[in-house]
Amino acid sequence: MVAVVPKEEYRFDDEYPIFKLTEDKAKRFKKMMSLDRHRIAPPGVCASDLCQHGLQQLLNEGMLKKEEIGALVFVSQTPDYTMPPTSNVIQGKLGLGREMICLDINQGCSGFLLGLIQAFLLLDIAALPKVVLLNGDTCSKQTDRCNRISYPLTGDAGSVTIIERCEAENPIYVDVKNDGSRYRAIMIPAGRYRMPSTPETLKLREVEEGVVQSLEHVHMDGAAIFNFTMEDVPPQIDEILAFSGDTRDSIEQFLFHQPNPFILKQMADKMKIPSAKLPNNIVSLYGNCSSVTIPLNIALNCGEQLLREKRRVCLSGYGVGLSWISMVMDLGPLAANKIVDYEST
């Protein structure tokens, strides 16, 4: 696995004047959300560029040969184009062979785990040699830079995960849940076909003090999302631990999607998982980068260790859809597990 982040790093302490926050308010927000810094892709850099950079690096390092790639699965909500699929664009740019599957998946917070499920199915059914899972999002382009709540929490990143079959028996436990009746809780209302882009949908509106957004930016119903993470996700963790025959003790690490430090901390407390086992540092260092928070979490918090040995882990991704997916598995040893910077030329 490799996670890729733009080289451009911005600190909240430098940025808060653009949100027109008073120093007091900025301090309060910084403390509540443990804000520190985030990575933002410059204009013109897409999620696919970050993913392509990571994949090219693995090819250069000899971790993977082009002809071994049986499928390219690209999970994103910030594709290059509405058509063609971005996976085809990446395939073409990297000069990969024709005998392969290219597949785009539209999913956010649960997208790393949905992508893994897709990769497992492809390995199983299509008997492919290796599947390359790309997760990428430039979430900063889905919010206004002056939005004092969402912008500081946002980050851009990509990741590349190579999945192949192993000889040893190594069961992976999966629980998938979706509730489309709550699809409005996290959405970008306009800009596609239900509500096409017009000058009106691009107009910025102040929805509360310092919170400006257009209909083409992400809208979040904070209270509804909070209730979702507190009421729907913890029971799923109990279910999957029961299914895999694990306990909070037998799991060595809980590597969860990280929407923001406040919500994750509340969830961890509610689930009675000690903070030492549930890292909560991605948003403070990189920002919430949608489906890439889990790969970043794995690389940042288990980087070296997973190169040497396997760990019993519980992964969980939850958010837009609403969709929530959890997995229990022995993860590692991995051939690569690192974070690299992307420098645009």
């Binding site: 007091d24 308010k25 309060r28 927000f29 509540m32 709540i149 509360e208 003090e209 919170v211 119903d221 904070g222 209270a223 509804a224 909070f226 209730n227 507190m230 009421e231 406040f262 919500i263 509340q266 407390d269 509610k270």
Partner: protein, 74 residues
């Protein structure tokens, strides 16, 4: 439910010395979507009750909020 304690916790969230029952929540400078998130978290973890998005929007005063949490506990 210890209402005095509840108003104390609310005053911490709103970053003021004191919150009185008749105070209108919207009048506090700090009453924004983040404060609402903090209230939901407090209700959940300290009082074991879940407040829905539309419920919190209908609350006017601090006393209304306290009564809602108390009523949900029963």
């Amino acid at each position: 439910m210890d209402k005095i304690k509840f108003y104390e916790q609310l005053s911490e969230i709103l970053d003021v010395e004191q919150v009185k029952p008749e105070d209108v929540l919207k009048d506090f400078e700090a009453w924004d979507s983040l404060a609402i998130l903090s209230v939901l978290a407090m209700a959940d973890l300290k009082y074991g009750v879940s407040i829905k998005a539309e419920e919190i929007r209908s609350v006017v005063t601090a006393a209304d909020l306290a009564s809602m949490v108390e009523a949900k506990q029963k």
